[in-house]
């Protein structure tokens, strides 16, 4: 859900940079280009008079891809705007329109933009939508957010409803419900595109999405190595590609290129992380995009590398056919039950050998943050690692306090140190 175009936090474009950033690797450059191309394609389509859609991050992109429709992603746009410090102004603009400051920061930024408030982040300007694609597997706020955009512009809203699943498995009836909605979405989108759905193109888009997912998972898996060949914060940035372009060949190729680079780092015992790794943590939740530098600073100072993020299992889904695709889209961080959520997270914590967990209680994302207190308790019980939580926001900087965050990180580091000593003493 959260993603930007930037490469590393150390080399962030989000704040004034004193030192020149290190040149990005070919894999990272290729990933950046993929996202830039998505935005450029939308502008080209608009100029040609073709329809442009705005889509939620986990709407089945394969359909629009097969129909050749240009689509951009407001979540990625909002993250980019927030990271460039234009989020607060956009959030306030939405509040002036009557949207409460309690709702998601991405939604507020997007709604402000949809209403005509221009962003200062030129790279994240998008054409106004001719249709919107909403899949509420990612959150329920999404439904109202997209309904509002559709109403503002008087355009079609293609909705795929994914009910919250209180079981780990996806039932056949749920698959049938999803399939029927897919069929309806295809029918509606054919009308928008002005062409018939092409099965061959759809198969190709699915093949691309599967290839991208496998390459994404491979990249994520490199965080299992000690030391990790990269900072896990990079994954947040690479999420931009998984969100905006997972149905494209170029995305799969870019991730595969990045994987070969990481393989080389592992062979050589090198890393792109800008500090020696002393501790490994899972970072839970979307980062505070406006405060990336503040977020990263105490982690770097204490040698804490993020080696696990839930996006790996949450977005790395592989499927064989339409039914398994429907099952895959039922599984997003906020649409699965706590048992599934814990299993995902504890799996990557074990595989990626974390010493602790840092939880972002994200004011923008109540469904995600709401069950975190219970998850923290389970992480500590099941994994025997300390957990620290901090308050913040993915897009609205008014909800983050640097001093409070630093105390919690320092506390976590001290607790990880003591836990390590206790484990060593027991061994």
């Amino acid at each position: 859900m959260a993603e930007t175009e930037k490469t590393t936090v150390a080399a962030t474009e989000a704040a004034p940079v004193k030192k020149a950033p290190k040149p990005a690797s070919p894999g990272t450059q290729a990933l950046r280009k993929v996202v830039s191309d998505v935005y450029a394609a939308a502008w080209t389509a608009k100029e040609k008079g073709e329809p442009v859609g705005w889509s939620s991050s986990k709407f089945p992109c394969e359909i629009a891809e097969a129909l050749g429709l240009a689509v951009v992603y407001p979540e990625n746009q909002a993250a980019g705007i927030a990271a460039q410090h234009d989020g607060e102004r956009m959030c306030q603009a939405a509040e002036e329109l009557g949207f409460d400051n309690d709702i998601c920061g991405y939604a507020r930024i997007s709604l402000a933009y949809a209403s005509g408030v221009e962003t200062t982040n030129e790279s994240r300007r998008v054409p106004m939508p001719d249709f919107v694609l909403c899949c509420n597997n990612i959150c329920n706020c999404m439904t109202k957010w997209y309904e509002n955009i559709a109403r503002m512009h008087n355009i079609p809203l293609i909705m795929i409803d994914v009910p919250y699943n209180n079981e780990v498995t996806v039932s056949d009836s749920q698959v049938a419900y999803m399939r029927a909605q897919f069929d309806d979405a295809i029918h509606q989108m054919e009308k928008i595109a002005g062409r018939k759905f092409d099965e061959k193109k759809f198969e190709q888009a699915c093949a691309n999405a599967n290839r991208t997912a496998k390459a994404w998972l491979k990249v994520c898996d490199y965080l299992q190595y000690k030391p990790a060949p990269m900072s896990g914060f990079d994954l947040f940035n690479h999420m931009a590609d998984v969100v905006t372009a997972r149905g494209k060949t170029a995305t799969a190729e870019a991730f595969e290129l990045l994987a070969t680079e990481l393989e080389e780092h592992v062979k050589n015992g090198t890393t792109t992380a800008p500090f020696p790794e002393q501790y490994r943590v899972m970072f839970e939740g979307i980062p505070c995009w406006p405060d990336l530098r503040a977020l990263f600073k105490p982690l770097k100072a204490n040698g804490v590398n993020v080696t696990a993020v839930v996006y790996a299992p949450a977005f790395g889904f592989v499927y064989d056919d339409m039914d398994s695709m429907a099952r895959a889209y039922c599984k997003a961080p906020n649409s699965v039950c706590i048992e599934q959520g814990v299993e995902w997270r504890e799996g990557i914590c074990r595989d990626n050998k974390v010493d602790g967990v840092l939880v972002h209680y994200n004011r923008s994302c109540k469904p995600w943050s709401g069950y975190m207190a219970e998850m923290q308790r389970r992480f500590t019980k099941d994994l025997g690692v300390p957990c620290a939580g901090f308050d913040g926001d993915q897009a609205d900087p008014r909800n983050f306090n640097q001093a409070q965050y630093e105390t919690r990180v320092q506390g976590l580091v001290e607790a990880m140190e003591e836990t390590k000593k206790l484990k060593e003493a027991r061994a």
Binding site: D391, N399, R408, L422
Partner: protein, 261 residues
């Protein structure tokens, strides 16, 4: 063997506290100044503790800073640590069987889980100031009483006037409303103490509470809050006359550990 003198400085949000320890065991001197981070408080607290001990800064083998304003003492302190670890260490020194520390400071609430005298996990309040020392300061002002008199007045209460708002601002309005309805100040204070306790107990239970439970920080001096919390938690709560110095004590103990390496 050479005697080792260490200093712990706890720069909190509302007060600055210092302790000088001899050989990690004996408290030589302590000081407390009622202003904290970003003020003259830390420097004054250091001067006062040195004066009380009849020593100079150069006599200190190691100085360790903790608390909200710990990073402002770079150049003065040899090292900084979080107040979480320092409260754990201080409480362990005073109560060797401690497993849970509840610290209510000026602007935050911490619950620390302790194994063998060291912190292994913790939980802190969110950005809201409800349940903190600041909350009590605001309430005392509205009630026109001194914050140090809250415990005594609350103990004279004959009934509990519930203060249900968790937000400090809304609770202030609620207290004003109770006053205008003629409720007895002492009963309102009792309600305030229970309000703080209910806020803290949620955080403590989230982490898990294991005996012995020790309460530290300035608010631990308020017997009304301690007894309300004891009742809500269902655990005996231990406090010490040194409660307000506990963070500084822990810092001085960690300083000794580092100086003896």
């Amino acid at each position: 063997m050479k005697t080792i003198y260490t200093m712990g400085i706890d720069v909190g949000s509302t007060a600055s506290k210092c302790i000088i320890l001899k050989d990690g065991k004996e408290i030589v001197a302590k000081s407390l100044v009622d202003v904290g981070a970003g003020t003259s408080g830390p420097a004054r607290a250091i001067s006062e503790v040195l004066e009380a001990a009849g020593m100079k800064k150069e006599d200190m083998d190691y100085i360790l800073a903790t608390g909200y304003g710990r990073n402002s003492l770079e150049g003065v302190a040899d090292h900084q640590m979080s107040e979480l670890s320092c409260h754990a260490r201080g409480a362990y020194f005073l109560f060797p069987n401690v497993h849970t520390v509840i610290d209510i400071g000026g602007q935050d609430v911490k619950v620390v889980q302790i194994e063998n005298g060291v912190m292994v996990n913790f939980a802190m309040n969110d950005k809201c100031a409800a349940g903190t020392g600041r909350f009590l300061d605001v309430m005392a002002r509205v009630l026109e009483v001194k914050v140090e008199d809250l415990a005594k007045l609350g103990a004279e209460s004959t009934k509990n006037v519930p203060i249900s708002s968790t937000c400090t601002v809304f609770a202030e309005s609620e207290v004003i409303s109770q006053l205008s309805q003629g409720s007895d100040k002492r009963d309102i204070i009792n309600g305030i103490h229970h309000s703080v306790a209910s806020r803290v107990v949620g955080l403590a239970n989230r982490l898990g509470v294991r005996d012995d439970v020790v309460m530290t920080g300035g608010v631990a001096q308020n017997g009304g809050v301690v007894s309300a919390l004891q009742e809500a938690l269902g655990h005996t709560i231990h406090t010490s006359p040194l409660t307000q110095y506990n963070g500084a004590l822990g810092a001085a103990l960690y300083a000794y550990q580092r100086a003896s390496r």
